[in-house]
Symmetry: C3
Subunit: 210 residues, 3 copies
Amino acid sequence: MHEQLNFVIEILGTISFAMSGSFAAMQRRFDPFGVVIIAFITSVGGGTVRDLLLDVPVFWMHDLTMCSVIFVTAIFSMIFKSIEKNFQVTLFIFDSFGLGLFTIIGLQKGLNANLHPVICIVLGTITGCFGGIIRDILLNKIPLIFRKEIYATACIIGGSVFLLLAKFTTLTYSFVQILTILLIVAIRTLAVKYHWEMPKFYVGKENSEM
Amino acid sequence: MHEQLNFVIEILGTISFAMSGSFAAMQRRFDPFGVVIIAFITSVGGGTVRDLLLDVPVFWMHDLTMCSVIFVTAIFSMIFKSIEKNFQVTLFIFDSFGLGLFTIIGLQKGLNANLHPVICIVLGTITGCFGGIIRDILLNKIPLIFRKEIYATACIIGGSVFLLLAKFTTLTYSFVQILTILLIVAIRTLAVKYHWEMPKFYVGKENSEM
Amino acid sequence: MHEQLNFVIEILGTISFAMSGSFAAMQRRFDPFGVVIIAFITSVGGGTVRDLLLDVPVFWMHDLTMCSVIFVTAIFSMIFKSIEKNFQVTLFIFDSFGLGLFTIIGLQKGLNANLHPVICIVLGTITGCFGGIIRDILLNKIPLIFRKEIYATACIIGGSVFLLLAKFTTLTYSFVQILTILLIVAIRTLAVKYHWEMPKFYVGKENSEM
């Protein structure tokens, strides 16, 4: 059952990120194959970097599930483009769930490889954030996660809570998993809703090249 | 003979992409080492990502052939910079050949690793396109392949035709290879000549940050 | 003793690059976690790409030393942000040392893997330069190393001198190591001080997208 839960989590995260990639690409007027490619990179980017770092087989290469899910999601996004305005909130919620889902999956893969808990949090953050970072780089934007919203911060807090609960409580693993995914989604949603921001430290003037 | 053909194909693709990288870097006024580095990254980028994903030894690390070819091509491009105008068309043809050659090589490496045909097409597309994508990222441009010209589309069509011909006809492997490389070159050339474009799906307004 | 020297070199290089990443991120007004992430990527980026290419375990994943050093350095940089002006020169020197230290470490890892000397120089250059390149990409700038200052050039010269001295003289390995690190630092420092530049080769007009 635990395996199945993980699988459902991974599929939902993939759909979420594929949608966020597709919409971002359509905003930049990419052609359909460009949209599919950006959807693909946004979805699998974080997990691919994680698997390369862990030196395990890259998760999307050995069966067609992920590729099919991404392809269908991208097509679906293009067809339903017209209803995008009503979609804005849905899309945000999906993206937040993707973040939570992928962070916890990445963290677990690190634990399975017997890495130090801190390194596992780093891996979880990479899995959650890198797809979006690569998407923003390809669209020639400064990755927003570094500047706005509590994004990486939510991953790091969620990952830490996961490790604490898994180690020091008797809660079942699946329960801890779902709880921390919801925590990440909650932190991000509240942060955006109430304009939470981390305090910032400036140095000199903004670079003129920006 | 088949091995030799593959080798010739790989060298020609490397030269093509090294030239396209060198010229792009010179347009941005990079210094000579910058030009060599961009030529190098453009040439080996796609194949390097492919080999990392496949977890096989990275193709340019175990002998000097590729590095030498790229170095000589970059030097050659800098020397002959003055005749660039007459070069424009040659350069385009070379770039198209690079795309076709690398796509088919990537696809074959996937088949050798017993991956699903669809994943092989993805690998072929990555091999053909990622060098140019990384080049454009380093030059701080939105990778054009997502917006103009039938670029990734040509890879995907060429790769699909390759698989169909290899599976359902009795044509020799080398012949199918050459045929699909020419098909990719033809699609791209005709697309640019006649301004073919894929239909696009817009969402809202162009992002102001662009 | 040689092992220890390598370790000290790696820590110093990590601190140097973590500082340069932190300051760059603060200039762009990133939030504290953004600063930590950019510091992390700048420090470990080059070595991570090197280890992936070599297919050896990624150096920062199996103990906490590097992560801790980077975290403390990033925090330190944020606290001492106010004294940044006086820091400018210190920062430059640190960055130059990071470049020299990482180049030689990368080169040695290539030699340990029995790669051709030229490939080892390429690996050293990647280790020294890629952290800064990825940092600049994330900050949406054209990586400066391609345009200003003798940066990659210093790596390539330093790496070549290392190989020549190690092969054709009887100097001890540690001495050659320190000597070439200082050589790279000296080349870069003098280049910036006296505005040395490589001759450039232009092609046509600067791209309007720039």
